[in-house]
C-alpha cells in the first residue's frame, strides 16, 4: 500500500519532520517522525491492521485518538522489559522501540483463530458458559488449553523487571484532573490564589482538544491560548504540572491515585536511573474534574473493519501527525461535531466522498460551511453495511440506506476506503463516579452527565456535558474560583479570556443502524469491539432474561475489556434500550470503577521489591551461621538455620547427626528468635493469670513455668515459658512467629478491657540473644566458662532461673528444656551475643559440642511429645484436646477463653485428641497431614478419623514416629489405624504421644 499519500505533506503539528525515527512493528522496520505514536506512524506507513479481535479474531485497526482506543493493543519492549496491552494511540515512538501486535497467531495476516469468525453463529453471547461445560473432564484437557492458546491478551515479560518504580505521597490544595480548555482555566483561577495546585493530564502536552475542537479564544485558535496557559502554569512556583499522568482513581477523603509514565517515551530517562513509572498518592483539598469527553460510535454492520474510526480520531490523526486515515472517506454522524472532521480533512486534501447524517433536516452554521465547501451530504441516511476485500482488511465502500429504524429496503453504494463515525460524545464521568458520585441522563446529549457528588467534587467542561469552548472556559474559571473559596483562600486577579463558537444543531440519537435483515441475520454490529460483543448478543441476552444491565454486562462481557467500556458503554445501553423498548434511564448503567486506565504492577509494587519486599530479620549470630554453612529456612521474617550440613551430608544426615549430638553429648542452638516480652508492674501476676490458662501469680521469684494461652473462643493460640524475675517483674517467652502478635494481644487487653491494671508490657525479643545448651554435657560446658553462676543440680534445679555473669558477660540463665535433655537457655544482650556464642563453642569443644538447627529442635521435641502451636494446633484445638487440661486452672474465676472452654461442645467426648502413632513398618514415615480412614481400601468419599500433625524419623529410638489429632483418640490407645497412601494401606498403632524418656529422667540430672 506504499505510495499512497497516507502521510499528508503539510500537516501534523506534533511531529518533527527533520527527525526520522525508526522502530519495529511485528519485526518489520517502520519509519516515523519524532512526535509520532505507534498508531500514527504505522498507519502513515500504509498499514491498517493493528491486531486481531479477542473472540472472532477479526482484523482490527485504530479507532480512537487516545485512551479510548479499544483495538490497537500492542506489546512494547523486549524480554524482561516487555509490557503488554498498551494502546498504540498513546505509545510515543523512539529509535529502537519494539512493538508487537496481540491476539494473532501465527501472524496478523494469517490468523488461525479467524475460523471462529466463520463459526460465529455458534459463538453467541454466553457461548463460553453454554458450551464448555460438559463433560467435566474435557475442561482440563481440551477446552481450557484450547481457549488459553487461542485467547489471552498479550504476553508476560520473560524475566524480572530491571527498571525501578516509585510511589510519591503528596498533599495539595487543588487537584485538577485534565488540562483541556476547562482544566487550564480552572488551574489559572486556582493558581492565582497562591494555593498549591497540581494539574495532571494523561497526554504528553497540555491543551486537550483545543487543537481540533473548534471555536476561538481571544479571537485565535484555542491552541494558541492553551500553549500560553501551559507555559504560565509551568512557570508558577505554586503549580505542579504533570504530563503523561493519568488521574486513575478517586477515593474517600479526596484521596487520589495518579499514574505517571515517566520514562516510557524515552529510554535515556530510565537508563539514567529515573523510575520508569510513578504512582502518585495525593490528598487534595479540592478536586476539579476536567477530564473531557469520549466520542461514541454508532453500531452498523461490520463497523469493526480496519478503517472505521471515530470522527475525532480521523481529525486528530491528520491534524497532529499528518496521518490520513485513507484517501477517500465517508463521515457518518448524528451530530454537528463530525462536520469538523469532514471540513478539516477536505481542507488538508483528504477526499471526503460523503457526509451521511441520520438527522432529517438539521440546520446550523457547520452544515452550511460543509455545503459551501462542496461536500456531498445525505440527510436521513445511515450506513447499512461495509464492503471489504482482502479478508476484511481493506474497505472498498459502504452501503447507504435511508434511516428509518426498520428493515433496509433500499441501498446505495458509496466508494470509500475509510469511515469516520460519530454518535455524539459521552462526558468522562468515571472519576466523578468512583467514590459514589451520581449521574443523570441528559436527553439533549443522549448520555449521562454528573448529578450529585458526596465529596463535593467540582467538575467543568466536557466532563460536565458542556461541550462548547465558551461554556468550558466559563465553567473552568468558576470551578477554580469555587475551589479557592471553599478552601478559604484569597482569590487572585486574572484576565479571563473570552471565547466564541458557532451554535450547533441538536444531536438526534441513533444507536443501531439497520443492515439488511434483523439483529440475528446478516452481518455483525459491534458494540464492544475489544470483547467482540455484538448488538445481536445484547438482544439475545435480553431474550434469555438477563434484563438487569449488570447481568447483561457479565453475560455478554460488554464493557469488561481493558478499555472498560469507554466507547461501548452508552452505545450498548442505547442498543439494549431499542431492543427492549425501554429508555436508557430505565435501564440504568453499570458501575464505574477505578482505575480509569491501566496502572502498571511495577508502580503498585513501587520500591517494595527484592530485599525491600519484606525485610529479613537476622539474629546476632546470623553471620556465623552463614560462615558455617547453615542451610536456612524462613520462620516469619526471620531466617533460621534448618541444619548445618557438613561436607558430603544431605539435610537428613545433618539433622540426624545434630539430634544424636544433643542426645549423647551436647548441642548449641541459636534460639534468639524466641519471643521475649518483659511484663512489669504491681498487677503483673494478676494480669498473667487472666492471659494464661494456668496460674502465674503464685509463681515464686526465680522460678519458670510453662504457660498456655487461649483465645476468647477457648482455642490455643500460644505457649511458652514465663519466668518471675522479681515481685513485679516477669519475662514471657512466646513462639518465634507469635512474638509480635502476642505483644499486641497483651496490650489490647490491658488497654481496652482492664485499663485499671498497673502493668507495662515491653517486647524485647531483639534486645536479647538467647541460646540453648542442651545435652548430657551441657553443665560441664557452662561450668568451664568463668562466672558466678552455680550450674550444679542442687543450686540450679529444673525450671528455675538465675542472673549472673558468664564468660565476663551479664546473662540470664534458665534451666528449661524443649529437648528433654539436661538443658540451659542463656540470654545475653544482643550486642554480646556473638561473643558468648563463640565462648560456649570454645568451651564445648572438649565435650563434643555441635550446633543444631530448627529441624533437630523439632524432632527432639516430637520425640518428647511436646506440642508446637501451629503444628499440633490449628485454632480449633483446646488445651484439653492436646491432653494439657492440667494446665487449665479450675481455681481462677476468669481468664481469656475460660468461659468458652466450658461450652458443652468443647468438653464433649469424641473431639479430636492428640495421640502418638507408630507405623507397623518402622522405616515408613507418614506424610504430614495424612488422614486415617475407617476403610482404607474403600472408595472415596471416606470419613476421616483424624490427621497427622507432626511426623519424623526419630534417630533417638531408631524408628519413625508421628503425632496426630484423632477423633476420640485417647480412648483408642492400642488400636491400629489405616491410611491409604501411595496406593497401599499403611497401618499405625495409636500410642501415648511421648516416645523417648517417658519419665523425664534425662532432664532432671
Amino acid at each position: 500500500m506504499s505510495g499512497k499519500p497516507y502521510r499528508l505533506s503539510d500537516a501534523g503539528r506534533l511531529i518533527d519532520r527533520s527527525k526520522r525515527v525508526s522502530f519495529t512493528f511485528d519485526g518489520k522496520t517502520v519509519s516515523g517522525f519524532a512526535g509520532d505514536t505507534v498508531a500514527s506512524a504505522v498507519m502513515a506507513s500504509g498499514q491498517r491492521v493493528m491486531g486481531r479481535s479477542f473472540k472472532y479474531h477479526r482484523p482490527r485497526g485504530v479507532v480512537g485518538l487516545g485512551s479510548e482506543e479499544m483495538n490497537a493493543l500492542i506489546g512494547v519492549g523486549k524480554a524482561e522489559r516487555h509490557e503488554p496491552n498498551l494502546l498504540a494511540t498513546k505509545v510515543e515512538i523512539f529509535d529502537g522501540l519494539s512493538a508487537v501486535s496481540q491476539n494473532r497467531w501465527p501472524s496478523l495476516n494469517h490468523d488461525i483463530g479467524a475460523i471462529n469468525n466463520v463459526l460465529g453463529r455458534f459463538f453467541s453471547a454466553g457461548f463460553y458458559y453454554k458450551t464448555f461445560m460438559w463433560p467435566q473432564a474435557f475442561w482440563k484437557h481440551v477446552y481450557e488449553p484450547f481457549i488459553r492458546q487461542a485467547a489471552g491478551l498479550g504476553k508476560a515479560p520473560t524475566g524480572r523487571d530491571p527498571d525501578v518504580y516509585e510511589q510519591v505521597h503528596v498533599h495539595c490544595d487543588v487537584l485538577i484532573a485534565g488540562a483541556g480548555a476547562a482544566g487550564l482555566a480552572a488551574a489559572e483561577a486556582a493558581a492565582a490564589s497562591g494555593l498549591r495546585v497540581i494539574i495532571a493530564d494523561e497526554n504528553p502536552r497540555l491543551g486537550g482538544l483545543c487543537d481540533i475542537g473548534g471555536g476561538l479564544i481571544d479571537g485565535a485558535s484555542p491552541l494558541e491560548w492553551a500553549k500560553t496557559r501551559a507555559a504560565a502554569l509551568a512557570a508558577a512556583d505554586n503549580v505542579q504540572v504533570l504530563t503523561r499522568t493519568t488521574v486513575a482513581g478517586h477515593f474517600e477523603d479526596n484521596y487520589v491515585l495518579m499514574f505517571e509514565r515517566v520514562g516510557d517515551h524515552d529510554p535515556s530517562i530510565t537508563a539514567a536511573g529515573t523510575p520508569r513509572h510513578r504512582l502518585w498518592k495525593v490528598r487534595a483539598g479540592q478536586i476539579i474534574i476536567a477530564a473531557g469527553a469520549i466520542e461514541r460510535p454508532i453500531a452498523f454492520a461490520n463497523n469493526d473493519r480496519p478503517g472505521v474510526m471515530l470522527a475525532s480520531a480521523a481529525r486528530g490523526l491528520a491534524a497532529r501527525y499528518g496521518t490520513a486515515a485513507g484517501v477517500n472517506g465517508v463521515v457518518f454522524t448524528n451530530n454537528d461535531d463530525a462536520y469538523r472532521t469532514a471540513l478539516m480533512l477536505k481542507s488538508m486534501g483528504v477526499g471526503v466522498a460523503r457526509i451521511i447524517d441520520s438527522r432529517t433536516n438539521p440546520e446550523s452554521a457547520l452544515i452550511d460551511q460543509a455545503k459551501a465547501a462542496g461536500l456531498d451530504i445525505s440527510f436521513g441516511s445511515s450506513i447499512a453495511g461495509v464492503m471489504t476485500s482482502k479478508g476484511g482488511k481493506q474497505i472498498d465502500g459502504i452501503k447507504m440506506s435511508p434511516y428509518n429504524r426498520g428493515r433496509v429496503t433500499n441501498e446505495t453504494k458509496v466508494d470509500c476506503d475509510f469511515v469516520a463515525v460519530s454518535g455524539g460524545w459521552n462526558p468522562a464521568v468515571h472519576l466523578w463516579c468512583h467514590n459514589g458520585g451520581k449521574i443523570k441522563f441528559d436527553h439533549e446529549l443522549q448520555t449521562y452527565r454528573p448529578d450529585r457528588s458526596p465529596d463535593g467534587l467540582l467538575i467543568a467542561g466536557a466532563a460536565n456535558g458542556t461541550f462548547d469552548v465558551p461554556g468550558a472556559l466559563a465553567e473552568g474559571y468558576a470551578a477554580g474560583e469555587q475551589a479557592v473559596a471553599l478552601l478559604k483562600g484569597k482569590a487572585g486577579k486574572i484576565a479571563k479570556a473570552s471565547a466564541t463558537q458557532e451554535a450547533q444543531a441538536k444531536l438526534e440519537p441513533i444507536w443501531f443502524a439497520p443492515a439488511t435483515g434483523a439483529y440475528n441475520e446478516g452481518d455483525k454490529h459491534f458494540i464492544d469491539q475489544q470483547n467482540d460483543v455484538v448488538a445481536s448478543g445484547l438482544e439475545l441476552a435480553q431474550r434469555e432474561g438477563y434484563e438487569s444491565v449488570e447481568h447483561t454486562k457479565r453475560y455478554t462481557t460488554l464493557g469488561m475489556a481493558t478499555d472498560q467500556g469507554k466507547t461501548s458503554n452508552i452505545l450498548g445501553l442505547g442498543v439494549v434500550a431499542e431492543a427492549t423498548g425501554k429508555t436508557i434511564p430505565e435501564i440504568g448503567t453499570t458501575t464505574f470503577r477505578p482505575p480509569y486506565t491501566t496502572v502498571s504492577f511495577g508502580s503498585i509494587a513501587g520500591a517494595h521489591v527484592r530485599d525491600r519486599f519484606l525485610p529479613v530479620r537476622r539474629t546476632a549470630i546470623h553471620d556465623w551461621h552463614v560462615a558455617n554453612g547453615a542451610d536456612f529456612e524462613p520462620v516469619g521474617q526471620w531466617r533460621r538455620p534448618y541444619c548445618y550440613p557438613k561436607a558430603g551430608e544431605d539435610r537428613h544426615k545433618a539433622v540426624t547427626r545434630e539430634i544424636l549430638a544433643v542426645r549423647n553429648k551436647v548441642g548449641l542452638l541459636d534460639a534468639s528468635t524466641l519471643g521475649k516480652i518483659e511484663i512489669k508492674g504491681p498487677d503483673a501476676g494478676e494480669f498473667l493469670d487472666r492471659m494464661y490458662t494456668n496460674t502465674f501469680s503464685t509463681l515464686k521469684e526465680g522460678r519458670c513455668r510453662y504457660g498456655l494461652m487461649a483465645n476468647e473462643m477457648g482455642f490455643l493460640m500460644d505457649d511458652g515459658v514465663t519466668v518471675r524475675v522479681g515481685p513485679e517483674h516477669f519475662i514471657m517467652h512466646t513462639t518465634s512467629g507469635g512474638a509480635d502478635r502476642i505483644a499486641g494481644w497483651l496490650e489490647e487487653w490491658l488497654q481496652t478491657e482492664w485499663p485499671d491494671l498497673k502493668v507495662f508490657v515491653t517486647p524485647v525479643t531483639e534486645q536479647w540473644a538467647q541460646f540453648a545448651v542442651a545435652g548430657p554435657n551441657a553443665r560441664k560446658v557452662l561450668e568451664k566458662l568463668s562466672g558466678d553462676i552455680d550450674f550444679s543440680a542442687e543450686a540450679f534445679p529444673f525450671m528455675t532461673m538465675k542472673t549472673g555473669t558468664l564468660a565476663g558477660m551479664s546473662v540470664r540463665a534458665y534451666r528449661i528444656s524443649f529437648s528433654g535433655e539436661l538443658s540451659y537457655e542463656i540470654g545475653v544482650p544482643a550486642n554480646q551475643g556473638r561473643a558468648l556464642w563463640d565462648a560456649i563453642l570454645e568451651a564445648g569443644a572438649a565435650f563434643g559440642i555441635e550446633v543444631y538447627g530448627t529441624e533437630a529442635l523439632h524432632v527432639l521435641r516430637a520425640e518428647k511429645g511436646f506440642i508446637i502451636i501451629g503444628d499440633e494446633t490449628d485454632n480449633t484445638v483446646t488445651a484439653i484436646d492436646v491432653g494439657l487440661e492440667g494446665l487449665v486452672s479450675k481455681k481462677k474465676r476468669d481468664f481469656i477463653g475460660k468461659r468458652s472452654m466450658e461450652q458443652s461442645f468443647l468438653k464433649m467426648d469424641g473431639r479430636k485428641q492428640l495421640v502418638g502413632l507408630l507405623t507397623e513398618d518402622p522405616n515408613y514415615v507418614l506424610p504430614d497431614g495424612a488422614h486415617a480412614l475407617e476403610d482404607a481400601t474403600g472408595k472415596p468419599p471416606q470419613k476421616t478419623l483424624g490427621h497427622v500433625t507432626s511426623t519424623y524419623m526419630s534417630p533417638s529410638i531408631g524408628r519413625s514416629i508421628a503425632m496426630a489429632l484423632i477423633f476420640n483418640g485417647r480412648a483408642r490407645m492400642g488400636e491400629t489405624l489405616s491410611f491409604s497412601l501411595d496406593g497401599k494401606v499403611v497401618k499405625a498403632k495409636v500410642v501415648e504421644p511421648v516416645f523417648y524418656d517417658k519419665e523425664g529422667a534425662r532432664q532432671n540430672v
Binding site: P454, M713, E748, T752, E753, P755, R899, S900
Partner: protein
C-alpha cells in the same frame, strides 16, 4: 482511603496507618460476673455484631503512632467519622442519642449522666 485522627497522640493519618478492631462497647460478661454467663450471652459476646446502615461505633488502634486503642463513631453510608474518643470515654451525647441496637441500651443511663454533668 479514610483519614483517621488518633485522640490519644493527635496524629492525623491514612487509614492504613491504623487498624480497625471492629465494634466498640461490646461488654465482656465474664469480666464482671464470670460465674453466671449463659451460653447465649457468651455467643452474643463472641459473634453477634450490630451492622447498622448509619452510625457505627468502632475500635481503632494507632498502629504506626502511639500504639493506643481508641474509639470512633462513623457513618457506614457516607463513611464520615463523627467523633474520635478515648477507649475509656463515651461519645458525645448527641451521638449516644442516635445510637441503635445494643449501643442504645449501653448508652441509655450514660446519656442522663452526660446531661447531668
Amino acid at each position: 482511603m479514610l483519614v483517621v485522627t488518633c485522640p490519644v497522640c493527635g496524629v492525623h493519618g491514612d487509614e492504613t496507618d491504623f487498624h480497625c478492631g471492629g465494634q466498640a462497647h461490646v461488654a465482656r460478661p465474664a469480666s464482671t460476673r464470670p460465674e453466671n454467663v449463659t451460653d447465649a450471652e457468651q455467643r452474643d459476646y463472641l459473634f453477634i455484631r450490630h451492622n447498622p446502615k448509619g452510625l457505627h461505633f468502632e475500635r481503632w488502634r494507632c498502629d504506626r503512632g502511639c500504639g493506643k486503642w481508641f474509639h470512633a463513631a462513623r457513618d457506614t453510608v457516607s463513611l464520615e467519622f463523627k467523633a474520635f474518643y478515648g477507649v475509656t470515654e463515651l461519645p458525645p451525647v448527641e451521638l449516644m442519642k442516635q445510637a441503635t441496637g445494643t449501643w442504645a441500651e449501653f448508652f441509655k443511663d450514660k446519656i442522663k449522666a452526660g446531661k447531668a454533668s
